[in-house]
């Protein structure tokens, strides 16, 4: 077992187990904890898959950002940190069964499909998803240049990068942030509904 495989196995199992733990834990704080573990180890998987930038982003945004946000949410909404909102047993069973069924279906799909052959590096040493440092190509592609696609094989540049989606996403984020702050701002209500 190579080092890569070993690391992969460790993180894969960690990921899966902690994800399962998220499902199974009863208090929201614990769920948050397990989620951190799960996401963090996913990041590790990314590193293993030669996607170091994505992994970094995962760590920064997810683990560092989103989860903090979630924890804030937990703190703001929970009556107590270990508040439990129980699920009925029947539901849990049905959900578990369904989950297994779903997992089986997905596994069947994965197993049943003949995936395309992986490529091993490119001729002119331009980083692809498979090998090399992907940071620079990623950055270029966000600026509208695709060194891996456009410059490969002597094709003329088609500018098939992601400048526009990048911009859209940026604006989208901005809008979302504004929207979120608007939605989350404290409102005065005369009386809580449904009490």
């Amino acid at each position: 077992m190579s080092g890569e495989n070993f690391l992969f196995s460790v993180f894969a199992i960690l990921t899966c187990v902690s994800a399962l733990a998220v499902v199974l834990s009863q208090t929201v704080v614990r769920m948050a904890f397990w989620l951190v573990i799960s996401l963090g180890s996913t990041a590790a998987l990314f590193f293993l898959a030669n996607a170091d930038f994505v992994g970094a982003a995962q760590l920064l945004i997810y683990v560092g950002g989103t989860l903090v946000l979630l924890v804030f949410g937990v703190m703001l909404t929970a009556s107590g940190p270990y508040m439990k909102i129980g699920t009925s047993a029947g539901e849990t069973v049905v959900a578990g069964l369904l989950g297994l069924l779903f997992l089986f279906v997905v596994f069947a799909c994965i197993g049943g499909v003949e995936w395309r052959k992986p490529v091993t590096g490119s001729a002119d040493n331009i980083a692809t998803g498979a090998v090399g440092n992907t940071l620079r190509p990623l950055g270029l592609s966000f600026l509208g240049v695709r060194p891996d696609a456009d410059l490969a094989n002597g094709k003329p540049p088609e500018a098939s990068g992601y400048l526009l989606p990048f911009e859209i996403v940026s604006v989208h984020l901005l809008v979302v942030l504004i929207g979120a702050s608007y939605l989350a701002r404290a409102k005065r209500r005369a009386a809580p509904v449904g009490q």
């Binding site: 890569e4 495989n5 992969f8 196995s9 894969a12 990921t15 899966c16 994800a19 998220v22 499902v23 929201v28 989620l35 799960s38 996913t42 990314f46 898959a49 996607a51 930038f53 994505v54 982003a57 945004i61 997810y62 950002g65 989103t66 946000l69 979630l70 949410g73 703001l76 909404t77 909102i85 539901e91 959900a95 369904l98 989950g99 997992l103 997905v106 596994f107 994965i110 995936w115 395309r116 052959k117 490529v119 998803g129 992907t134 190509p137 990623l138 592609s141 696609a149 996403v169 989208h172 942030l177 929207g179 979120a180 608007y182 939605l183 989350a184 409102k187 809580p192 449904g194 009490q195």
Partner: protein, 102 residues
Amino acid sequence: MAAGLNAYLLVGAVLFVCGVICMATKRNGIGVLMGVELVLNGANVNFVAFSRYTDLGLDGQIFSLFVIVLAAAEAAVALAIALNFYNNHLTIDVDRANKLKG
């Protein structure tokens, strides 16, 4: 377990299914959100795996980046919604949000 495409996909599948079950079982709104995060992560794992093991090139990674960003955005909005919900109902139990009942 060899680190191949299928292995990654299996991890992704597990994450995905866990996320879905999480969404389906948690009555806590924040829990549902966490389920969503898991689902998205599962998808991300798949993307990265495809990027690594097929000739998709960087597209997969780029997509996963977008997914991460959108997930962050979604989390922000969802949390805002949750807070609003909590403000209105003084609880975070999503079963109380049944106004759309037929």
